[in-house]
Amino acid sequence: MTTASAGAHEAHEHTHYTTTGLDNKKIAIWAFIGSECMLFGSLISTYLVYKGKSVVGPFPHDAWTSPAGQLFKPILNIPVTSASTFVLLMSSLFMVLALAAVENKGKPGYEGWQGSSKVWLAATALAGAVFLGFQAYEFTSFVHEGLTIRTNLFGTSFFTLTGFHGTHVAVGVLWLLSLLFIDIKRGLGPRDTINVDICALYWHFVDVVWIAIFTLVYLIK
């Protein structure tokens, strides 16, 4: 029974009556996502309010000279972040394919590796991990260039905003790996759709937050 399903067993949608006919978990995850809008809204607002208010460098979009006279380039690395953005976008594609594979398991058109939820769950988790790798690379290179969370307001608000997003990605990767583990152990099928669906909704939400961050933080000066 332990592995009978992933996620909370709080709702037995097939045995219990619900008013809307929808699953409790799905309503809860959407309410949660609504709540997350306010969390990231606050974080993004703070970043934007503090944009250009740093007293000392490094700056995101402008070159600056350190007190020692050394010239620094703008610190944001657009090519690398573009790559990681692309990876995260692709992870969303993998995620919908994973959900479709779980929902339609055994149906025609879902044979082979292309219809395997294991493949797509693994791919999604891997893409998430690669994104986190890019972020780790970005953070360490910033630290080498003299930007830490304590250096200036940009560092403070940048690391906090992207760090919160990264933490969400990390939680999502753990969630995906848990689903993958269950899938390998006993196989996920149509009756598990809801449990994969709520994970997918969370994952895509984390992706759309990044869509906003990429534009607001990286591309717009």
Partner: protein, 636 residues
């Protein structure tokens, strides 16, 4: 499959079990509601004693009952306790107990998440309260303005407990809110459309949305403060270009919806009490529901009226002033609707009704002084004076607490099966009513005469002596009132008259089942055909003019629903074949893990890095492991 914990708790008749273990492991929304009730009443005593000390110190000029530093801790903890540990959890007690009963459900959508919310609250409450016994309680005000609460000006452990404690309590409120939103959307009995929900459930529904939208904002603001305090970031550091106003804005974007989080459940409770005791349907039900939503929505657009004094500029001042005046409209509509509900009714005045009418009167006074603050020029004179203290105590004590007392008198028989003593209830009401007016009304005058808030003492000769003495006397009277209530509560619980299922002749579903209700609530899910199902049954002429209709046949069949009826039999869930959630300790363990994890940051501040890391990682690992154990074990 099951851990030893669940097997132990799954003894037959676990619901009748009353041992400590049964309370630690319960997932029954009614027992969790009772836990909330007792815990919050305990904190009401704590917060009340803090108030008594504050007022004793201020009774006369230049007293030194407590030191200035202790005074700072007292007023900070009084506010924090009353808001986060008393009024919100008392409301949560009613959410838990009543929402499933009012909508005809057997439990909330996520029973274990519900237990988790309670345990996070209970442990988080201890986390933030205990430091006062060691003289390190939070001392920066319940609003924690940065940079006063930051590392430079608040270098002690005091504000650590506040920042982390609020963060912990936020987890509890958020988890509960997701739970109740889902419950109300998805577990209503067939025929219980949104516009047939009892008004308390309606107001609770609005409040849950306020929670999920307001708490993330304070969460973000607290993280910033936490980072400033523990990791040396610059969010509120002026030298680095940081803006202290950021904290104020974020705090009040949360803080203003928070005041509606505090008051709307009380509004909901009196909206149950007034029609029942007027023996007449609620006047203007739809408008009541819509004005609740309106208050909730507008509540997000008025926050900066807490900040007129910082100088936001004429445009911002005008916008926030107008929106604040606007929010007075739906609130005023409610007042008139309650009065119109009573008008022409066949009135009865049990203690619950007295408190409900008390709320209408007292909240109106507080509401009117609130509208006065909405005008920036007049606010500039009143801000940071005792006038504001008078205002928010009228709305929070005269409003929220009176409404909650009304609810306690009204629902005590449902919860315990016994009636509260009415004579003592009347004594409680009048002592409370006189005490509160004696305490808070003079504050309007001391405030207008210029007495600032949060000062620990004052010199004679400024015209404040009499008013302060009156306020202090009133506070002592409120304590006497509180003692009468406590005596009544405990004696009635043991020896009160047996209530029966529907002592008040009330119209809603919770009164159709025995008192106290069996663990499964409804042996058969009722099919609802109107707003006042029990009046349809018992006094049909009262509701004849209202809309009645049968719901979707498919839904009725799917829920095995039967027409609303009085349930008198008391059989066990097993006999009835109703699957019940299994008691479990895991939500408690997850909550414990969270508290330990947060405590690690206090250790970090103490400079013990390895121990701090061990505490945080240990707590985190314990939390994650318990969470996995929880999620992989079945509910029933």
């Amino acid at each position: 499959m099951a851990t030893p914990a669940t097997t132990a708790a799954h003894a037959p008749g676990a619901s009748e079990d009353t041992g400590l273990w049964s309370w630690l492991t319960t997932v029954d929304h009614k027992k969790i509601g009772i836990l909330y009730l007792y815990t919050a009443l305990f904190y009401l005593m704590v917060g009340g004693l803090e108030a008594a000390l504050i007022r004793t110190q201020l009774a006369k000029p230049n007293l030194s009952v407590v030191s200035a530093e202790t005074y700072n801790q007292l007023f900070t903890m009084h506010g924090t306790t009353m808001v986060f540990l008393v009024v919100m959890p008392l409301s949560a007690a009613f959410f838990n107990y009543l929402i499933p009963l009012q909508i005809g459900a057997r439990d909330v959508a996520f029973p274990r998440l519900n237990a988790f919310s309670y345990w996070v609250y209970a442990l988080g409450g201890l986390f933030i309260t205990l430091p006062i016994f060691f003289g390190v309680a939070p001392n920066g005000g319940w609003f924690g303005y940065a940079p006063l609460s930051g590392p430079t000006y608040g270098s002690g452990f005091n504000m650590d407990f506040w920042v982390l404690g609020l963060q912990i309590l936020g987890i509890s409120s958020l988890a509960a809110a997701f739970n109740f939103i889902t419950t109300i959307i998805n577990l209503r009995a067939p025929g219980m459309t949104l516009m047939r929900m009892p008004m308390f459930t309606w107001m609770s529904f609005v409040v849950q949305f306020l929670v999920i939208l307001a708490f993330p904002v304070i969460t973000a603001a607290l993280f910033f403060l936490q980072f400033d305090r523990f990791f040396g970031t610059n969010f509120y550091v002026v030298q680095a270009g940081g803006d202290p106003l950021l904290w104020q804005h974020l705090f009040w974007v949360f803080g203003h919806p928070e005041v509606y989080i505090l008051i709307l459940p009380a509004f909901g409770l009196v909206s149950e009490v007034l029609p029942t005791n007027s023996r007449k349907p609620l006047f203007g039900y739809n408008v009541m529901a819509y004005s609740g939503m309106m208050i909730g929505f507008l509540g997000f657009g008025v926050w900066a009226h807490h900040m007129f004094a910082v100088g936001l500029g004429p445009v911002a001042d005008s916008i926030f002033s107008l929106s604040t005046m606007l929010i007075g409209l739906p609130t005023g509509v409610k007042i008139f609707n309650w009065i119109a509900t009573m008008y022409g009714g066949s009135l009865r005045f049990p203690a619950s009704m007295k408190f409900a009418i008390g709320l209408i009167a007292m909240f109106t006074i507080g509401g009117i002084s609130g509208v006065m603050h909405s005008s920036p020029p007049s606010d500039l004179q009143q801000t940071d004076t005792y006038f504001v203290v008078a205002h928010f105590h009228y709305v929070l004590y005269g409003g929220a607490m009176m409404g909650i007392f009304s609810g306690i008198y009204h629902y005590f028989p449902k919860i315990t099966g016994r009636l509260m003593n009415e004579r003592l209830g009347t004594w409680h009401f009048w002592l409370n009513f006189i005490g509160l007016n004696l305490t808070f009304f003079p504050m309007h005058f001391s405030g207008m005469l210029g007495m600032p808030r949060r000062i620990y003492t004052y010199d004679a000769g400024q015209g404040w002596e009499l008013f302060n003495l009156m306020s202090t006397g009133g506070t002592y009277l409120l304590i006497v009132a509180g003692l009468v209530f406590a005596y009544n509560f405990f004696v009635s619980r043991a020896k009160g008259a047996v209530a029966g299922s529907d002592p008040w002749g009330a119209p809603t579903l919770e009164w159709s089942i025995p008192s106290p209700p069996p663990d499964y609530n409804f042996a058969q899910i009722p099919e609802v055909t109107s707003r006042y199902p029990l009046w349809d049954l018992k006094t049909p002429d009262r509701t004849a003019g209202l809309e009645h209709s049968h719901g979707d046949a498919g839904a009725i069949a799917a829920a095995h629903a039967v027409p609303v009826h009085e349930e008198t039999e008391r059989r066990t869930a097993k006999e009835l074949g109703i699957p019940m959630p299994v008691n479990t300790i895991k939500p408690f363990m997850v909550a414990l893990g969270i508290i330990v994890m947060f405590s690690g940051l206090i250790v970090l501040h103490a400079g013990k890095f390895p121990l701090a890391m061990a505490t945080m990682l240990g707590g985190g690992a314990f939390m994650v492991a318990s969470l996995y154990a929880w999620l992989t074990s079945p509910l029933e």
